[in-house]
């Protein structure tokens, strides 16, 4: 390893150790605990978080975290599938039909201008506090992300390509099936990692509004009961789940779209 490499690696380790020990030690100093926010009741301690994490996954209260994580994950995934299907078909339709585009695109643009998280209370009002609200939130968020990419994919085809296909005798249906849909779906796929990440966040925000089960629900419960350790554990679980989902989606994208130039090189 080069000299520079050694400096970088030891620097990284040092930062990690410094952060963790500062978090573990500072809240134990009485002066800081009493006068600043560095109070174990607010920020917990890394050792407590690690212990609680073990306890709620494999230890004494095994299964507790799984149930909540599973509920959020299920809602996010179901919403993702429905939202992606709806967004893809709508994007494809609007890219192909000038009439549909002229009629509907301004409304979709108007709705997409509002950050979707703001609409969660309305969704909760209409669909209640249960799973339906979470799935609806996830569908709503995923729809827009996938819609815009599929729409772009459907309209970004060079005219010369479709023209040559027509010249070679391709029917409208054949061109649709072999040229337009593959191109549009490649673009839609590119939106999936972003979409699934947003969907999970949307589900968690929906759970903030009094859902009985899910990571968002234990986050709010821990906030209200002032349990910093539980709060940290649920945020950690959410971060791991989110990164895992996004990474999986990237992998799936590279697998499915292996014929695309950017994946071929790898």
């Amino acid at each position: 390893m080069s000299r520079r490499g050694v400096i970088v690696q030891s620097g990284r380790l040092l930062v990690l150790v410094a952060l963790l020990s500062a978090w573990e030690i500072l809240p134990r100093i009485p002066a800081l605990r009493d006068h600043t926010f560095l109070d174990p009741n607010f920020v917990s301690l890394p050792s407590l978080v690690a212990m609680r994490l073990w306890e709620t996954t494999f230890g004494a209260k095994a299964g507790y975290l799984w149930v909540h994580a599973g509920a959020s994950l299920g809602a996010a995934l179901l919403g993702f599938v429905c939202g992606a299907l709806a967004g893809f078909s709508m994007g494809l339709a609007l890219s192909q039909s000038a009439l549909a585009r002229g009629l509907l695109k301004p409304f979709i643009d108007a709705f997409s201008a509002v950050p979707p998280v703001l609409l969660v209370p309305l969704i909760t009002l209409v669909f209640g506090l249960g799973t339906a609200s979470k799935i609806a939130t996830s569908i709503y968020i995923v729809f827009f992300v996938v819609f815009y990419n599929s729409y772009k994919g459907g309209s970004a085809l060079p005219e010369s390509l479709t023209a040559s296909c027509r010249l070679l005798g391709g029917s409208r249906w054949a061109i649709m099936r072999t040229v337009i849909v593959p191109s549009s779906s490649a673009w839609a796929f590119a939106a999936f990692p972003t979409a699934i990440g947003y969907a999970l966040i949307g589900v968690v925000v929906a759970e903030f509004f009094g859902s009985p089960v899910g990571l968002g629900s234990i986050i709010i419960t821990s906030m209200n009961t002032g349990s910093a350790t539980d709060l940290m554990v649920s945020i950690f679980a959410l971060a791991v789940m989110g990164s895992g989902l996004v990474a999986l989606m990237r992998l799936a994208e590279a697998r499915t779209l292996h014929w695309r130039p950017e994946n071929r090189a790898a």
């Binding site: 520079r4 400096i7 970088v8 620097g11 990284r12 930062v15 990690l16 926010f37 607010f42 920020v43 002229g102 009629l103 301004p106 409304f107 201008a113 509002v114 950050p115 998280v117 703001l118 609409l119 969660v120 209370p121 309305l122 909760t124 009002l125 209409v126 990440g197 999970l200 966040i201 968690v204 925000v205 903030f208 509004f209 990571l215 968002g216 986050i219 709010i220 821990s222 906030m223 002032g226 910093a228 709060l231 940290m232 649920s234 945020i235 959410l238 971060a239 989110g242 990164s243 996004v246």
Partner: protein
């Protein structure tokens, strides 16, 4: 032109159809029995929402359970002020941090894995943590907005700082530019371009941070009014507050987009815009 007029007429007809369905379908007797979504208790009605807006604008009494006139503006102001403060603080700190880190390679290499980890963290989920630690006042709300805005701005600025063509820097150095001159005339303008480009997204992030904070632990603001209306199942109040919030959000994001165009008018992609106007 006839085609265009027909299209606009069709759009208006679509809006009218949705409003008419929203207003009149719930009045069909027995409909809520098999389609509970049409219960005006949950979805209110366009007429009631318009009446409520009118009432808020013209009277000063306290007719509403949740929304009183005057009150809407107080709450709106609370949200707006926190959003703008969070935006300004988040953009400026994100810019400075991104600039410094992009110019110090060794530091950037050391903190890189942590940046990736922080970036993967769902920051909206940190909202309850911040509220638990810092409460629900203006400071806490600004901090929530900052938390989300900072990273968005930081990552874009950092990428901009890393994307400067080395040949350009070398050429300037050969021409005798000092480090300071290089920073002032090449690096900062280039990096600022990347920062300005992210302003609309940063504004949207600031709104999200503040409003989710108000949803979760609010004591003031439009987000708080919305949760109160939700808790008391006052659909009309919820729609009024939500519409106000959405309009303000769209206006703020549009303003940030204009700011971006203004600041980046020298860029090729914006120059053509100016030419057409």
């Amino acid at each position: 032109m006839g085609r265009r007029a027909a299209l606009i007429a069709a759009r208006l007809a679509l809006i009218a159809a949705v409003l008419l369905i929203w207003e009149y379908v719930p009045r069909i007797p027995g409909i809520t029995g098999w389609a509970p979504i049409f219960d005006p208790f949950f979805i209110s009605s366009p007429g009631k929402i318009a009446a409520k807006f009118w009432e808020l604008a013209t009277t000063s009494g306290d007719q509403g359970v949740v929304l009183k006139s005057g009150n809407l503006f107080v709450q709106l102001w609370a949200t707006l002020w926190a959003t703008l403060l969070g935006f300004v603080v988040g953009v400026s700190t994100g810019f400075v941090a991104g600039l410094v880190l992009s110019q110090t390679r060794i530091l950037a290499d050391i903190v890189h894995p942590y940046l990736v980890a922080v970036n993967a963290l769902p920051r909206i989920a940190l909202v309850p943590l911040i509220i638990m630690i810092f409460g629900t006042g203006l400071g806490a709300k600004v901090m929530l907005a900052w938390l989300i805005v900072f990273f968005i701005v930081f990552f874009n600025t950092y990428a901009g700082g890393r994307a400067i063509e080395p040949a350009v820097l070398d050429a300037c150095r050969i021409l005798g530019a000092t480090r300071r001159q290089l920073l002032r005339t090449v690096v900062i303008p280039q990096v600022a371009g990347w920062t300005f480009a992210i302003l609309p997204l940063a504004m949207s992030a600031s709104i999200i941070g503040v409003v989710v904070g108000e949803f979760v632990g609010g004591a003031q603001g439009l987000g708080y009014i919305i949760t109160v209306a939700l808790g008391q199942l006052e659909a009309t109040d919820l729609f009024v507050a939500l519409l106000t919030l959405c309009l303000v959000a769209v206006a703020l994001i549009g303003l940030a987009a204009r700011l971006e165009r203004r600041l980046l008018h020298w860029r090729p992609e914006h120059m053509s815009h100016e030419g057409q106007a």
